[in-house]
């Protein structure tokens, strides 16, 4: 991505009115996206159901797959748009289907940080839920809907809480696939 574009993205992230979030569509080159998605779908997802916290499946993104993410290029890009020095990325794949969700914790508050999600969700129903939802201090909500081949970057303050919206029965038989990037 050109420097000028990266600067424009950074400007939009930091200077826009309202919630500091940006979603870039068609982020990965088509064939790279398709191959990556195929490989992600083969990961050994582990189901985890802790009713007071979450219900979903997750898998670490193994070394070979991590390399396919072109970590150095992605790190440079993320450093450029967030203004943070990022040299090392930790990746986790999340898989949700009908009845999956995460809940905001009453007891633990996540520290402020940068949330980065690469979305590999295809054929999703708009009314199935599964949005990434941010709850703002004033009670408003900011939604990031499922859409394949997008990257969403959120500058999250400590007062903002995040959850993955319950996937309802319109998500039955469908798959919500995300890679969360920890910086």
């Amino acid at each position: 991505m050109e420097k000028g574009t990266q600067n424009a993205i950074r400007k939009r992230l930091f200077l826009q009115q309202g919630f500091p979030a940006i979603t870039l569509t068609d982020f990965l080159e088509k064939e790279s996206y398709r191959v990556l998605r195929e490989e992600l779908m083969k990961l050994p997802f582990q189901r985890e159901e802790i009713p007071l916290s979450h219900s979903l499946s997750h898998a670490p993104v193994n070394t070979v797959l991590s390399q396919r993410f072109h970590q150095s290029a992605l790190s440079l890009f993320l450093s450029s748009v967030t203004g943070k020095k990022i040299s090392r990325l930790h990746l986790e794949a999340l898989h949700l289907t009908w009845k999956d969700y995460t809940i905001i914790s009453d007891k633990e508050r996540e520290a402020a940080g940068v949330d980065i999600f690469l979305d590999f969700t295809e054929n999703w129903s708009e009314n199935a839920g599964g949005n990434i939802v941010y709850k703002l201090p004033n009670g408003d909500f900011f939604l990031i809907p499922p859409k394949g081949n997008t990257i969403s970057i959120v500058l999250r303050k400590g007062s903002v809480q995040r959850f993955l919206q319950y996937v309802n029965h319109y998500g039955k038989g469908k798959e919500r696939l995300l890679v969360r990037i920890f910086v």
Partner: protein, 204 residues
């Protein structure tokens, strides 16, 4: 309010014998609860449902739930709903409830509102512990089948469903609120409407 007046509202079967109900409540697993079918006299249940249908419902949505709810009946102008609220919060009805729950409940201190669950609405696992709540109650005003969803699940200590209560018109259900009273309302997956009046009694 006397027993004679209670009998203007409640199915006489429940007024006659409370010992059975007491044992059932106390011994119920996974935590004390009761499910009382045909609890109110049919004309009363019908009148309440009719009155509720004129109230405005507001959609509520968060990480834990999505459903619609009326304002608390304390703020309602509907005479039938006000009368029902007065009856449920009366010292006499509370004494009747206490006869089988053995809980000390505060009279004239009742949360009460109408709830409506429609297609995709749900309420995830939680224990209801908040603001001195002691006894949760529900009056179901619509019938749901298993295939519709909308069942109330009472969960055991492993958070597995131990009891499933399918809404049936005029069933009055209640459970003791405690650190273990985890429950959830299953997502509604059809066009059926799950209508109820629900709320809490508080500690004395």
């Amino acid at each position: 309010m006397t027993n004679a007046e209670l009998s203007l509202w409640i199915n006489p079967t429940y007024l006659a014998e409370t010992k059975n109900s007491r044992q059932q409540f106390t011994n119920a697993k996974p935590f004390p609860h009761l499910e009382l079918p045909d609890f109110f006299l049919p004309n009363k249940a019908a009148e309440i449902l009719q009155a509720l249908s004129t109230e405005k419902f507001f959609q509520k949505e968060a990480d834990l739930f999505k459903f619609s709810q009326t304002q608390d009946f304390a703020g309602s102008e509907n005479a039938v709903l006000q009368e029902f609220r007065t009856f449920l919060s009366s010292p006499e009805f509370i004494s009747f409830l206490s006869s089988f729950t053995q809980l000390s409940l505060k009279p004239n201190s009742l949360d009460i509102s109408g709830t409506l669950y429609q297609d995709t609405d749900f309420l995830l696992c939680h224990d209801d512990q908040l603001e001195g709540r002691r006894l949760a109650y529900f009056l179901y005003l619509s019938d749901m089948e298993e295939s519709d969803g909308g069942a109330l699940h009472l969960l055991d200590r492993e958070f597995k469903s131990a009891v499933s209560i399918l809404p049936r018109v005029n069933t009055f259900a209640l459970f003791e609120v405690s650190p273990h009273s985890f429950h959830e309302v299953e997502e509604v997956v059809t066009d059926k409407q799950r209508i109820a009046i629900t709320g809490w009694y508080h500690d004395q």
